[in-house]
Symmetry: C2
Subunit: 233 residues, 2 copies
DNA sequence: TGCTAGAATTAGGCTGGCATAATTTCTAGT
DNA sequence: ACTAGAAATTATGCCAGCCTAATTCTAGCA
């Protein structure tokens, strides 16, 4: 009956909502210039779109202050996040995509697939909770696990942790991580941390032949969960 | 290196090329009004797009006469056809889609997937030559089997044939065909044909309990291949 | 308090892709 | 050969989304 399939936000709008969601969950609110940066669009164009989005009730806009998703906007953003992550999972699991090449494909597909197809892909995979980059997949009802991650750069020396989420945008970075053996789920302990934003030395899986040094910027981008000692998710 | 991934025709242009291909292979050339009808777009809009397409070398336009694909245009159209049919095959084979529901999903996905993904899906299915509706799938190099189909409505009484291709656009029609047992590959003999565009009576698989009557218009839309007697593809 | 750098917005323009109304061209029938 | 009706095109206009240039606001600092 009442299909309402995708009365459908445009591709552009979907990208804006995704970007705003990301920025909001990082820094509380999304500024025009940050959105522009994220989407590689000129700031005035963002101003224009922001006006339209707030007129259609997807965001709240305090002029000159920033932007926040309404609950409708957040619902759409989480739906896009689910799409993206289910697609990435499916492409890697079933079609042999690599860790680092899957993002671009998902970025295009997420705007084209139906909710039905997403559910079929998720079901085929056994409804996974995490995507291959370790990011939690929102449920079809729009719930997302709120993990309290700690950047690798802030784990104290001697601390044990497991790598959670690595991001999926930069494929060269992902290839490098893979070459270090750093994939989501990998457990490690921090052996040393140099001051002045220096590198972090870690031991992978307690294997002393697998000590690796990770630069500060990279370590800061690796979201980890602290663990007591041994153990698996 | 030279990626050239999809410098990319717009979604609209891809749809125009597909429509022109279809019309051209039915009637030799595509008229403005026929394209407009096919795409549900007003004729003047088609005129405008036709101008742009011929400027970019995808079609040849004889004003007031009609339109034909150039070899570049044909290549793109066949690529879209391949995409569409591979996607339909994959969705049915691997994700449990129905015969009649798969078209709409493919219609959106075909504009978003990469050539790489298409090849992965095709490989996963064993590079099928026909889609689930019996239509030949163009190869990655743009070759397509040219079958000489005969409409069911023109098979002489007593003739044996196998159903080839049924089209994929009208899902109610597809459901009805399935209820008659008429899926691509089904063999049958023509028992009777009424004059004055009357219905055709057929016997499915030589099974006398499976005689069915097919209306003229429907029979005319069912593309069949004549066969000697028994035998399977 | 007043000033200024930087962020944001408004003003004005462009392209793609659609529409309707008006006009032109083709074609078929007398 | 002429002309009516169909088909196609041109003339305009609209909206989504982007741009650059000009302007306005905000906040931090002297």
């Amino acid at each position: 009956m009442n299909e309402l399939a995708r009365p459908s936000l445009s591709r552009s709008i979907e990208d804006y909502l995704k970007a705003i969601y990301r920025l909001e969950s990082e820094s509380g609110a999304a500024q025009t210039s940050a959105i522009a940066e994220e989407l590689d669009i000129a700031p005035p164009s963002v101003s224009g779109m922001v006006k339209r989005l707030s007129e259609s009730g997807l965001i709240e806009h305090l002029p000159y202050r920033g932007v926040q998703l309404t609950s409708a906007g957040r619902r759409e953003a989480l739906n896009m996040l689910r799409r993206h992550r289910v697609i990435e999972s499916y492409l890697m699991e079933r079609l042999g995509y690599d860790w680092d090449s899957v993002h671009d494909e998902a970025e295009r597909l997420e705007h084209a697939v139906s909710d039905d197809l997403i559910e079929r892909m998720a079901r085929a995979l056994g409804n996974p909770q995490y995507d291959p980059h370790g990011a939690p997949i929102p449920t079809a009802t729009g719930d997302i696990e709120e993990l309290s991650y700690v950047p690798m750069s802030e784990i104290p020396v001697g601390g044990a942790a497991r790598l959670g989420s690595v991001g999926d945008k930069d494929s060269a970075r992902l290839r490098f991580l893979a070459s270090l053996g750093l994939v989501p789920g990998t457990s490690f302990t921090v052996l040393a941390r140099q001051p002045f934003n220096g590198p972090v030395t870690i031991r992978l899986r307690g294997d002393e032949r697998r000590d690796e040094v990770v630069g500060f910027d990279l370590a800061r981008s690796l979201q980890c969960t602290l663990v007591e000692q041994e153990g698996d998710r």
